[in-house]
């Protein structure tokens, strides 16, 4: 189960890659595997102000629906149209092409480390 060391994680199985004040957000391979083949993605609109913990979108497979939570406070600066058009990239490349949104954040988040997340999903 891939859990890249350089990313931060949430207990809701999302990952965050921080680059300056821009945070790229996606769901983890663990979450993608649990959902099965993703067939539909709904993302927040560019410009939306997100509050950490709020439900801001959804990721739907043939089998079930997963809610997308804002992992931190921030403004949506980009939503990945590629993943809306080809939701299967969440399964094939959850940490790459399967990214969901980019947020501008005002302060650096303190989320789970890769090690902490590995502990969480192996529990």
């Amino acid at each position: 189960m891939s859990v890249p060391d350089e990313l931060q994680y949430t207990a809701e199985h999302e990952w965050v890659r921080l680059d300056g004040d821009i945070a790229t957000v996606g769901i983890t391979q663990y979450a993608a595997d649990a959902l099965g083949d993703v067939v539909y993605v709904e993302l927040p609109a560019v410009g939306a102000a997100l509050t950490s913990g709020a439900i801001v979108g959804e990721v739907e497979s043939t089998k079930s629906v997963g809610e997308l939570y804002a992992p931190l406070d921030g403004e949506v600066v980009e939503a990945n149209q590629g993943v809306v058009d080809a939701p299967e990239s969440i399964n094939s490349d959850p940490y790459g092409e399967g990214w969901l949104v980019k947020l501008r954040v005002s302060e650096p988040p303190t989320l789970l480390t890769a090690d902490e997340y590995r502990t969480l999903i192996s529990a």
Binding site: E12, H13, E14, I27, T28, A31, D33, A34, L35, G36, D37, V39, Y40, E42, E58, V59, E60, S61, T62, K63, S64, V65, G66, E67, L68, Y69, N91
Partner: protein, 380 residues
Amino acid sequence: MSDTTPLAPMQRSPLHDEHLALGASFTGFAGWQMPVRYSSDLAEHAAVRTAAGLFDLSHMAEISVTGADAGAFLDVALAGRLSTLPLLKAKYSLLLDESGGIIDDLIVYASADAEYLVVANASNRHAVEEALLDRQADFEVQLADLTEQLSLIAVQGPAARAILEQTEGLEISDELSRGRTLDSLGYYAAMGMTWAGGAVFIARTGYTGEDGFELYLDNADAPSLWRAILAAGEPNGLVPCGLAARDTLRLEAGMPLYGHELSRDILPVQAGLGRVVAVDKPRFVGKSAVEAGPAADARVLVGLRTEGRRAPRADYPVLAGDTEVGVVTSGALSPTLGYPIAMAFVHPDHQTPGTVLDVDVRGTRVPATVVALPFYRKEA
């Protein structure tokens, strides 16, 4: 994202080690830990429609009914007429309560003289056994739960027959085949085969809407047969399939799933299963309630089709204007058809195909058209 599945303590299939070796993901289902998928739900679903899929259904409950009165007993205990079921034939049936509600849906096989094999849903194993025991008082029958001894392997898809014919060592049993072959075995017919010296009871039945077979055999012989079918199937495009694909396949085929389309609150006719009930039998549990029928405004099962890609899911409300007229029982983006499909119970005023309703999909109204079931039918 949150998706939690408790994994222990649960019963494991005799094929559990095979699933581990194949890299399966597991899910809890009726107290069993069963494969939900091996690779991709969509790929597994497509394999069954175009080639073949291999399923472990060992969680299903098998109950044998034997004795001189076995047929007469089942005629009273179940909704259908089983006493006239010819040897080595299968019949879909229902177990009703006194109010006509559905305790379970079942497949019954006339497996030998004065012997029937009743196959029940794993989730209803104990309810079925309890009901059968309650109803056996006046009859000379013996009931036995074979669930822990028997494995059930299904091979489903257009290539299923060829694959089983090519499975080396799987032979037709002369004594229990009555001249049948895999090719000539009719739909809902069964026969005996042998594997590794043991008996295999094989039937042309399934839950996918495709041609296919279900094989019952002793647990001890199941892993080697599973591997042999996989090996014979590989050149034919067979893949192992999990419960996720099984669910989308049965949904496309318009087949009900207990707990979704069927329950104790539903009379057979509401679920489109009136034909399963032999109302002319002198007596069976639920007869008076079935004859009285449901209330005139009792909801009936329909198929729904929606646009876009967001599927109606179980428990979503169905609306006509601002009035709630029904509820979705199962739904998914159909892998074969490419649009969302669902089954729902709606007020009978809204059951005609072509009727346009709305489904409340998590706060968004999505137009849904009533369509005839099944959604998908294999080419003849």
